[in-house]
Symmetry: C2
């Protein structure tokens, strides 16, 4: 295939997902390659928020029942479940990814009496490592937190390990673990696994139950388009529901929250992983984002993502190698997620120059320029235009290291 | 003073806070006595949400900076600070009350090497006790959690106690601790105190620094009118910022979150109590609610609350004793917060009957009918009308135990 702007426009015309772009409200002049950080707004959000505000205004506290807010964590969890190969009653939407990771790692640790080691990957998304530091310090197991380079993870799984915590798709390199193989290797040694699906959910096919997965967490505001700081989710395999108890045992995880009893009795189901009240107004946009996913097959999403990723990589290598960019090693397209990072010493300044041209990627320290590929609303031609802008930035020396001082925004 | 409808209307005409009712959007036909559970909607909320949605739509990930979302926890925290006698940089808005309580109790526990006991009150709001159960179990101190009857709390403070966790205003009885005296008694024994201000903030005068308080948590969706499930807040005294480290050490509590370092270094200030990203759309209504409080003195709020409480108690005692209600013991008005519970074996059914008449109070197991008094938007005459409705419910036997099966909504 000869890649030029026309051929990419032809791909857009033939794209079975092309119609989904209209489900979002996206500024026309923008090339948005940061949907892996904060997704665009589903077009249904303003009306949904107006309805929710009216429920609050009219029904007040009664709206927890009349508008069924109380079941939002379960209802939204069910919608996420089908994207990640989970059962309806194994996923719940609540709190932040970090808080949920703490709950699940703690629950898994408690299920492994006699084992003390929490194993994770150096260079994992920082909050994952930080949370495990906090947990292991609190439980007196600080010396047993094992943070090893990626290439040593598999070999470090042994009978001393209680819990393995890995991010399925790496936030920077997009390298993707073979979830089934890693889970199997861990289970062979009696190790429980917590997967972080922040860069996977809505981006790649995930089959948690097909992999016999134990636990997982993930993010609502990236590929699911749930809005800034949307609540996260967690998955706990049904077979663990009875034994997995978590320490953030707030009242909404209680078997009967409204009995106001003096002693904690966890809910029999996944609701035991709830803690306090959830931010209703922040959950509604996530529900809008997930409603769109109800009408999509993740197989189609992944197919378009793989195609876009190959095109972008090809364009960048052909047109931008001369400017000193470095590219990812070839590990096979099937082993990467839906974003792509290229390395350059001036990535931060180049990223800012692109933003001034309304091409939004992001910078990840120390030197990555990261582009997210979101099949539901990105067009193939956007890739051509983005690379064209990057070429112009480099040709015209638009990147100005001096001006690049402002701290970059949230992942 | 002779209490009749006219005299209460006269009080409304003379009420210096009367004008604030117009700052909220309240259904005209409603008598809302549940603002201690979910506050009414500030009138500014719909426009504020429209602006926030536009920020998301237009600026996308850049809005974390352009709309300054990233500083929302601090900015909202500062607004709360002045309501509770704290400094601007001692309060942060984040997560739920339950999650924040876990963070602070864990931080306090870690500051007390050699001490193992967490002390709290039986009949405290359940989530507080449940969270302490979770924390003490996770840290291997399950046998050291001491939950004692209210009247034994003070006597139970000794040198074995690491942390005392108390709710300032009791969620059911509205009994209020003398924060200064209890804090002093605790400090005398080297005990750190975490106060739960859920039923205090925006309802009664609180002077944390005047009491030499250590830590506190509180709720955004009750008297602060932040909307359903609005984020909560926490307070940490400046003198503890260096030593208090908490285990939910997510990336946004890091000294430099965007350096993406492999090792957790807590922020030097109160931001160390942040964990993950915050739900922006749920924080905005809370900011609207707090903007109103900027123009109010808590002294005036408390004065009106005390007056309303005395009126309601008097009306209930005079007109409803005959129906078998029981009333709170007299501990002095100064020792109660801003809600009032009366006890009746059929409280649940009576509460439902009142709701059908558009008088909204709530039920708290096993037998309390609870009325919240919110001085910013409640009128004195509403108290008369509410009691009139209650009398009619009782006279006409409208309460139907059989129909009272539906689970009651969130506190």
């Amino acid at each position: 295939m000869t890649l030029d702007r026309n051929s990419l426009q032809a791909l857009d015309r033939a794209d079975p997902l092309a119609g989904f772009r209209a489900e979002f409200d996206i500024p026309e002049d923008l090339i948005y390659l940061d949907g892996n950080s904060l997704g665009v707004m589903p077009a249904a959000v303003p009306a949904q928020l107006r309805r929710t505000v009216q429920h609050w205004r009219n029904d007040l506290v009664g709206a927890w029942n009349s508008a069924n807010w109380i079941s939002l964590p379960n209802r939204i969890g069910s919608r996420i479940a089908r994207l990640i190969g989970a059962r309806d009653d194994e996923v719940i939407c609540t709190d932040s990814t970090s808080v949920n990771l703490f709950k699940l790692a703690a629950a898994a640790l408690r299920m492994q009496p006699g084992r003390k080691v929490i194993l994770t990957e150096r260079g994992n998304f920082p909050t994952d490592v930080y949370i495990l530091e906090g947990l292991s310090e609190l439980t007196g197991l600080k010396d047993h937190l094992r943070v090893v380079p990626r290439e040593q993870v598999l070999d470090s799984i042994d009978e001393s390990v209680a819990v393995l915590v890995l991010t399925h798709v790496h936030y920077k390199t997009a390298e993707m673990y073979d979830m089934a193989a890693v889970t199997r290797a861990a289970h062979d040694k009696g190790v429980l696994v917590v997967w972080d699906l922040s860069h996977s959910t809505g981006a790649v096919e995930v089959d948690l139950n097909g992999c016999d997965a134990d636990f997982a967490v993930g993010c609502g505001y990236k590929y699911l388009n749930g809005g800034p700081g949307a609540p996260a989710f967690l998955f706990a395999a049904k077979r663990h529901h009875q034994r997995a108890t978590q320490p953030l045992s707030g009242w909404l995880g209680h078997r009967n929250p409204f009995a106001f009893g003096d002693s904690y009795q966890p809910s029999p189901g996944v609701a035991r992983f709830l803690c306090g009240a959830q931010p209703v107004l922040a959950m509604m946009p996530l529900d809008c984002g997930l409603e769109i996913f109800e009408r999509v097959s993740m197989r189609q999403v992944r197919a378009k993502s793989l195609r876009m990723r190959a095109i972008l990589l090809d364009l960048l290598q052909r047109r931008c190698t001369r400017y000193g960019f470095e590219f990812e090693p070839d590990v096979g397209a099937a082993n990467r997620g839906s974003h792509l990072s290229i390395m350059h010493p001036e990535s931060y300044a180049i990223c800012q120059a692109l933003i001034r041209r309304r091409v939004i990627g992001d910078f990840r320290a120390p030197d990555a320029l990261r582009f997210g590929l979101t099949p539901l609303y990105l067009r193939h031609v956007d890739l051509w235009d983005a690379v064209e802008h990057l070429v112009q930035v480099m040709e015209q020396g638009e990147w100005d290291t001096e001006s690049a001082r402002v701290r970059h925004a949230v992942t």
